[in-house]
Each structure stands twice: as structure tokens, then as C-alpha cells.
Subunit: 316 residues, 2 copies
């Protein structure tokens, strides 16, 4: 590989793209950078993250070397971010926020049996919504230890009946038998395609019958998303044979992005891709592609204590 044809323009430079983790500073360094942005001082930032000032100095410096960009203006009166540094810091903040969500989720997953709040949730909710709720809960009630068990609606119901969970979250068209619940959010399904797909250039919205007649990339039969889609299109001739049938939302997404064809996916799963135009949403007329996300509990036993705190967060 390095013996291309002849000489590269630059004698140095031009590394063969090592791995992402070598090009992106580690979390500790990013946290330190955020601390510098907040405090305007390397030393103060160092104190916040629990290291010494020379360590912080060296760490920021090596981050600048790694990125090839000056991030902070040092002066004897403190350190301010450069313009580039401010931008980098904003991007870094998004990584750290994702890491916080990861941490909140992982901590709940490890969940000790003695947790004060035991949550059972369906996959979509556990994956996309719960980490954010847990962060908010931690902010409001810092000492609430939460445990999380993820499973389908039936498993959630079972855990609630058995007293293994204080509150549940399910997605779907109906509340399972024996449970009460309230809607906490809606999961809208969107028809998406790659920007290169002909539908991406359409003017008006798509006709339901046309959607029904077109082969789509789908999750396997039985998945929640597919059930909703099936129900919504039942009156329009029913779903066509799938173009491709894949085992995970991620796989479907990847297939759509690579241009294999259109699919219907939860808006929760694709906000990122829509924002960057890796995917394009195509409006569909007159079909209600949405399902309710509900908090549930055994009929008559309205949640109290920590579970109520969590609910009040999700309902506003």
C-alpha cells in the first residue's frame, strides 16, 4: 500500500488512516477540554477532573498535536479556547453526552437487586429514550438507584405482575391485559430512502396504495415496526413482498443508506441520518404511521415514590 506508484506530493503527512480511536481523543481528554472551556484555566480544569496541572497541560497539548489544530490560547492570565477550539469543544460535547447516556444506561443495566426503582422496558424505549430519562432523573433525584430489564411487552407485563419491576414501558397498539398505563410519547414511523432514490426527488406526498405496492426493506415478521406498518396498510391492499428482510433496525438502516431501497423506520432511529441527509424522509398521505409509547403498571396500582418521579419526568 505504501509503495504506490511514485512519489506522493508531501514527503511526510498522508498517513493511511489508522483507526477512529487513534484519531479522536479519548473521553478523559474531551472532558478535560470541556472543563477548560468552562473554567478558562488549565489548572482549574485539571482540578475538576482530578488530575494535576502538568498532566492537563500535557494532555491538551497532545490533543492539539493529534488534531493538528491549536485549541486553546494560553496566557499567564488563563486559557481561552481558540475559534477552532470552540468548534472542537462543541463536537466533543456531543461525544461526552452520548457517553453520559451510555453510562446512565449501563449503570441501570448492572442494576443491583436492591435498587430503589426497577424499570422494565421494551427495546425501542430502552435504547432511545430511557438513557435520557435516567440522566434527567439523576439530575432531579441524585440518589435514586435504578435497575433496568429490557424485553418485549409480554416480558414487561410478567415482570410487573411478579413484582420484579416498579414500572414498565411498552410500545404497541394496545395496553397488555391487566395493566393500566398512560401514553408518554409517540413513535412516528417515517418512510425513508437514500437521497439518490427517485422518491427523494418527488414533489408531492406518496399515495398509500403506492407505498403498499412497493417492495420495502423490512425487519423480520413480528417486529413491532412491521406490525404497525401492516396494520396501517391493511386497508390499502396490504404490504408487498419485502425487498429484503433483515434482523435488526441497524441492518435495515445500513441497507437503506447504501441505496438498496426504501424502508419504514422509527423516527427515533433515524434523526441523525435525516439531519445529515444520509437519509431522506418521504411524506406519505393519509396513513397514520405511529405507535404509542406507554408507561404501564399493574391495574389499580398507580406508581408511587421513585417510579412516580420518573413518570413525571417523561410526561412533563
Amino acid at each position: 500500500m505504501s509503495s504506490e506508484i511514485a512519489g506522493r506530493p508531501g514527503p511526510q503527512g498522508d498517513e493511511p488512516r489508522p483507526h477512529l480511536s487513534h484519531r479522536v481523543p479519548d473521553l478523559g481528554a474531551l472532558e478535560l477540554l470541556l472543563a477548560v472551556a468552562r473554567h478558562g484555566s488549565l489548572g482549574a480544569a485539571a482540578r475538576e477532573v482530578g488530575i494535576t496541572q502538568p498532566a492537563a497541560s500535557s494532555r491538551i497539548r497532545s490533543m492539539e498535536r493529534q488534531l493538528g489544530v491549536a485549541l486553546v490560547d494560553r496566557s499567564p492570565r488563563g486559557s481561552r479556547l481558540t475559534d477552532a477550539g470552540a468548534l472542537v469543544t462543541d463536537w466533543a460535547r456531543r461525544i461526552v453526552e452520548a457517553a453520559e447516556a451510555f453510562d446512565a444506561g449501563a449503570q441501570a443495566l448492572r442494576g443491583r437487586r436492591d435498587s430503589r426503582l426497577r424499570v422494565a422496558a421494551s427495546m425501542t424505549i430502552a435504547e432511545y429514550l430511557l438513557p435520557g430519562w435516567l440522566i434527567a432523573l439523576r439530575a432531579a433525584r441524585p440518589d435514586t438507584a435504578v435497575s433496568l430489564q429490557a424485553g418485549n411487552s409480554a416480558a414487561v407485563a410478567q415482570r410487573l405482575f411478579a413484582g420484579d419491576a416498579d414500572v414498565g414501558f411498552v410500545e404497541g397498539l394496545a395496553v397488555p391485559e391487566g395493566l393500566d398505563g398512560v401514553v408518554v410519547a409517540h413513535d412516528r414511523l417515517a418512510l425513508v430512502a437514500a437521497p439518490s432514490h427517485p422518491w427523494a426527488r418527488r414533489r408531492g406526498p406518496l399515495d398509500p396504495a403506492e407505498l403498499a405496492a412497493t417492495p420495502l426493506i423490512l425487519r423480520e415478521r413480528g417486529s413491532g415496526t412491521r406490525q404497525v406498518l401492516d396494520a396501517a396498510l391493511a386497508g390499502h391492499g396490504g404490504l408487498a413482498e419485502p425487498l429484503l428482510e433483515l434482523a435488526s433496525t441497524t441492518a435495515v438502516k445500513a441497507a437503506v443508506v447504501s441505496g438498496a431501497g426504501p424502508a419504514v423506520l422509527s423516527e427515533l432511529a433515524i434523526s441523525e441520518e435525516l439531519a445529515s441527509r444520509r437519509l431522506v424522509a418521504i411524506p406519505v398521505e393519509g396513513v397514520l404511521l405511529r405507535r404509542d409509547l406507554r408507561a404501564v403498571w399493574p391495574a389499580g396500582h398507580r406508581p408511587t415514590g421513585p417510579a412516580r418521579d420518573l413518570l413525571s419526568l417523561t410526561r412533563g
Copy 2:
């Protein structure tokens, strides 16, 4: 709060919460986990990320120890994710995606002078939109080296006139003199408050006059967001004296989340907080709180080559 009734059950456990970076596996480990999910094998995953099989084995193991959760089911025929592992992997993917955006941005920021595509962009666009576009561009045209210069509209225009940039992106109400452009996206501004704020429980939408009369948390005078807000409320009595005036969007966001009061912020900046209900959007009636985001170029010199590729990504 922590001195509830009596003693804690567990004699050990109960660490005093070290830093985030010690509770979240590093990027390399997360990438490895994603590779395991894709390949169903530690060895194959190891090969993909460029380490040996024992290293991968040990890394996954220490990740499981760190999180306190079994992530993969090992068998002599391969490794599959456990249920918890699948969830953790989904959360991990969000960190890695944020890291990819960071990398794409940082690489453009380092931007060598010999880049094939030189972009000048305003802050909001550089911060929220451009990294995603760059990822998409890299997917479509892998060998396009991009350089990025961020600045306000005037700086963008200047760079274009000087021939220092091939294409620009600006936000605002009008196209700067001497430039042509097309709208590539809209930045909707949303009125937000903490979930505990009275407005969060309102039934109907807010009256513009009421919004204008209420003290808000604002960016300093002159910021793009504030200009739009000023213009939109000019016909409704004009903006009230600010409740608080802060220097960065992040600071405003933090103040709103902590319940200091309502603010008007770009939807781009708050999608995360809305999803997790740390913030609540309050509908406002009859005011157009939005600004156009435009690609621009010197009048008459429509972009060609790589710049055109980028534009076609942003327009779909």
C-alpha cells in the same frame, strides 16, 4: 436524602463515582464491541480493528468487568451478544457515531491548503450540520480532502471573494451582497422551558404578544438567534428585557434546563434535550420563528467539482 432510615445493605460496593471516562469504555473498546456484533466472532472482530485475538478477548472481558454486565455469549462456534450486550452495543454506537462526526470535523479543520474542497461556514452550520455532511461526502467521494473555515457571514463572504473558499454556508435572513445561493435547510427556533415550568403544562399554543412580554434567557445582542427573534416579535410589541443574558448557546441551554426560565433556541441545538424531556417545546401561534440556512458562492460562479458534490448531498 442519603441518610434515609438506617444502614445500607451492602457492606462493600458503593464507590464514590469516579469520573465518566472511568465508567465508560474507551472508543477502541466500543469499536471492538461493534465489530463483534457485526461478525459474531471475537477473532474476526479483532482482525477488523487491527489487534490480535487475545487482545480482543481481554478487552471485551475487561469491559464486562467494568460495566458489571455480561455482553457476549462465547461458544466454540463464535460469540453472540447477550440481550444486555445488544442494548449496550446500541448505546455504544451512538458514541462512536458522535466520534465519527468529531473526526470528520476535526480533519476538515486541520484542512491542508491543498485540499480539494475548501468550505467556509457559519458557526451553527459548522457545529451541527457540516460534520454529518462530511461523513456523507466521504461515503460518496472517499478521496475528497476537505478544509473548513468557520466564521460569521461577513467572513464567509470575504473568503469566497478572495478565492480562499470554494463554497460557503451562511445563516440569516438575507444573502450577503455579491453572492448567489440556495436554501439547503431551515433552522426552526423553538420556545423551550424546563418540564417544571408552568408553560410546559399549557393546553393551547402561546400568544405571540404573551411571548414578547415575558422576560427570556437570551444570547447577547447581535447573535443570529436573537436577531430572528427580534424581527419576529417586532410586530407584537418587541422583545421584553432579558431575564438573563448569556454568552453561548450552551450556557443558555443549561440555564433553561436548570429551571431559570424559558428561552428560544434552535431546534438543531436541542433535539437531544427534547427527546429526553429535559426540555419541553412550547408551541407559539402565528410567529414564524425560523431562518434559512443557505449555501452561497460568488454571484455567477456556480460551484463545480467537489463543491457541487457537497451541495447535491445537502439538497438531496
